[in-house]
């Protein structure tokens, strides 16, 4: 670990505020739960159990709080709407991170609560404060049954959500996590057994909620925490309805790099660039939804996604569309050949070409496709900063396809917001994957009237063989286009030096070369938008933030998948 725990959790003001609020509210609720049990004279019989019952009541209240919080970050549509309005307050893009924090907290307090109850029930049996045995409370009363069920469901959900398993087999995580439905039901009904009461026997009644609140003196927390559950359930139904609206797969293009581009027409689907969607192809899998970044701009008449055939879903999808691995392999081979033959005088534009799968030529019609979304991503904010630094690594380039296209459309309309300059970085391991994106970059590059507005920096990090090096050297000198990308911009080899890049931008702004006419008294915002592996993100973030001065704000935002 390069940075210490202390620096990360305590010295970062935003994180410190979160820690104080999050853990503070937990401890406060625990204290309140403890205190109100201990001082409640109606419950003096139960208070004979002393510390264990005070602990269990306190922890129970905290668990109710966590149970209410855990679904909040998963309200994807609400998060999408709320996010832009609250971005100054909470990093709403960190919703999965927050979900995990609540889950960890829940596991801890579940341990406290369960341990305390094991002590409670054994003491109930020993003192006979209630005329029953411990196992009766454990396995024959609502509280015990739902509690043990929730523990088992937690074991299943937490273990399959472990990053190793989730990344290895997403389906196992995805399906198991739907046990949350039963978990939430158990949570809301956990107190219906009326364990906390001042009467000898549970005071059940025949009307909802089937126990009398006169004698059952629980915290009634389900009245508060059920709302996120209802909202979530409603949202899932709404997503299902929305996904069923008319959607048509209009075109499938296969790019030589192996990526399939699906162009989908769905008039009811409105989105912004940089967002992503879930896609479902019932022919391939009836229930699975897979996330993909939208690569078209909102101005385009269609929604497009670029899919590489890497997993079993995407490969099955390729087969179904008549663009299976064999087709792609032959295309890729052709592309590699074309690349080796760049020295043939014929302009190598053929490499950038794609093949359209003709729906009439294949015997099977285009499959039914459903899309759900869009869901937010920080890249929407690009137009709010003066200088946008877009960094994509590998396939992480996809959201920027949409953003660059969108910038291009906005440029034509002459409406760029406060955006003055765009620095675009693409870090890529191998040359063939330049393929599909290159045609887009070409278009954007060609459309630039102001040579300073968009700067494209492409880094190739692959080890280059000697042959290839000479090939590049021969074709590069004096040619108007870069031999690999066919852009006017030259490809750079090796990894970018982020420190010099950011200090370079800073000094260029300060000397006034970079943004002519910039008001020195106003703060300039340089926003970095990153998409790619988290190890690289950390490095870029560090250097970006380190470059901040009193008049220039460097910000950093990362996309999550």
């Amino acid at each position: 670990m390069s940075e210490s725990w202390f620096k990360r959790e305590i010295l970062t003001p935003r994180r410190l505020a979160f820690n104080v609020l999050f853990y503070g509210s937990h401890l406060a609720l625990f204290a309140y739960g403890w205190y109100s049990q201990e001082t409640n004279t109606k419950l003096s019989a139960l208070n004979g159990l002393k510390f264990s019952v005070w602990t269990s009541r306190g922890a129970g209240l905290v668990l109710a709080y966590d149970g209410g919080l855990i679904l909040v970050p998963m309200l994807r549509n609400i998060v999408r709407i709320v996010r832009p309005k609250l971005s100054w307050l909470l990093p709403a893009d960190e919703n999965i991170w927050f979900h995990r924090q609540v889950a960890y907290s829940m596991a801890f307090w579940a341990m406290v609560h369960t341990t305390a109850h094991y002590v409670n029930f054994i003491n109930v049996e020993r003192t006979q404060v209630r005329k029953e045995i411990a196992l009766h409370i454990h396995y024959q009363e609502a509280g015990g049954i739902t509690g043990h069920t929730m523990l088992l469901l937690m074991v299943l959900m937490y273990t399959t959500a472990h990053h190793k398993i989730r990344q290895q087999c997403f389906e196992a995580f995805w399906y198991t996590h739907h046990l949350a439905f039963f978990f939430m039901i158990a949570l809301y009904t956990h107190a219906t057994g009326c364990f906390v009461r001042d009467s000898t026997n549970p005071d059940y009644i025949s009307t909802f909620p089937f126990y009398s609140t006169q004698h059952c003196l629980g915290y009634e927390s389900w009245r508060f925490i059920i709302w996120p559950g209802i909202l979530y359930f409603g949202e899932r139904i709404w997503r299902e309805i929305r996904a069923r609206r008319t959607t048509e797969l209009s075109k499938v293009l296969v790019h030589p790099s192996g990526a399939m581009e699906l162009r989908i027409v769905k008039p009811s689907f409105k989105y912004k660039s940089g967002q992503w969607l879930f896609i479902q192809v019932p022919d391939v899998s009836r229930f699975q939804w897979h996330p993909f970044t939208i690569t078209s701009a909102p101005e385009d008449p269609y929604v497009s996604v670029h899919i590489r055939q890497v997993g079993d879903f995407t490969q099955a999808l390729g087969e179904r569309l008549g663009a299976g691995p064999s087709v792609v392999a032959s295309l890729t081979k052709a592309a590699m050949k074309a690349e080796e033959k760049v020295d043939d005088a014929a302009p190598a534009f053929d490499r950038g070409n794609f093949v359209e799968i003709d729906a009439n030529a294949t015997t099977r019609p285009m499959p039914l496709v459903r899309i759900d979304g869009p869901y937010g991503a920080p890249a929407e904010d690009v137009f709010k900063s003066e200088v946008a630094v877009l960094v994509g690594a590998g396939i992480g380039i996809t959201p920027f396809a949409s953003i660059l296209k969108h910038i291009w459309y906005m440029q034509r309309k002459g409406n760029l917001g406060s955006l003055r300059r765009v620095e675009f970085f693409w870090i890529c391991r191998d040359a063939p994957s330049f393929g599909w994106f290159q045609s887009l970059l070409q278009e954007v590059e060609a459309a630039q009237t102001n040579p300073d507005f968009l700067r494209i920096n492409i880094y190739l990090t692959q080890k280059i063989s000697e042959d290839m090096m000479w090939n590049i050297a021969v074709n590069d000198t004096g040619a108007p286009y870069d031999p690999l990308t066919l852009l006017r911009t030259r490809t750079m080899y090796g990894r970018p030096n982020w420190k010099s890049i950011y200090t370079g931008i800073r000094s260029a702004i300060e000397t006034g070369r970079y943004l002519p006419g910039r008001e020195a008294s106003l703060r300039t915002k340089v926003g970095t938008y990153f998409c790619g592996p988290s190890a690289l993100a950390k490095v870029v973030r560090e250097h970006a933030l380190a470059a901040s001065t009193s008049s220039i704000d460097f910000t950093f935002a990362k996309e999550h998948f």
Binding site: Y118, E125, T127, L135, L152, Y158, I165
Partner: protein
Amino acid sequence: MGEFIWHHWARVVSIFASVYLVWAGMWGIAYRKFFWDFVGGHLDTVNAPPIGGFHPGPNSAPFLEIIVKVPLIQILSILFGLFTLLLEYPAPFMKQTSLYRSFVARAVLLVLQSFVAVFFYQGTNAAIYGTIAAFAYGRAAMRGEMMEEAKENRGKASAA
């Protein structure tokens, strides 16, 4: 997406079960109770304890000896739990053992651990989770999954 790798999942469940068991075992020493004492036991609701209250049946007597009188089962459970944790985490010296590479051995270990855990009051959930982990290791063995070779097994470069 990829295939579900059973022994990856089994490892996480096994760690979960063992941590639970060690914790439960410690509380089991403080609050001793034979889980199955209700079999043949009898609850006297008329009189107050110690005359009234719950009395285990005579068939529970041998278990009461090793759970209530001497917390043997609880201590054994803690040792089982700790050993499984050392094996699963894994501790550096465990990586070289053949036990570390065997799923069947782990399944057997977890079944034994769960069998011990199921006797005392606090340990039953750990027994359920341990059984789930044992089952998952059994699946892993049946499907012919292999443990990733520990790097230490290949010997140091200097020793070669």
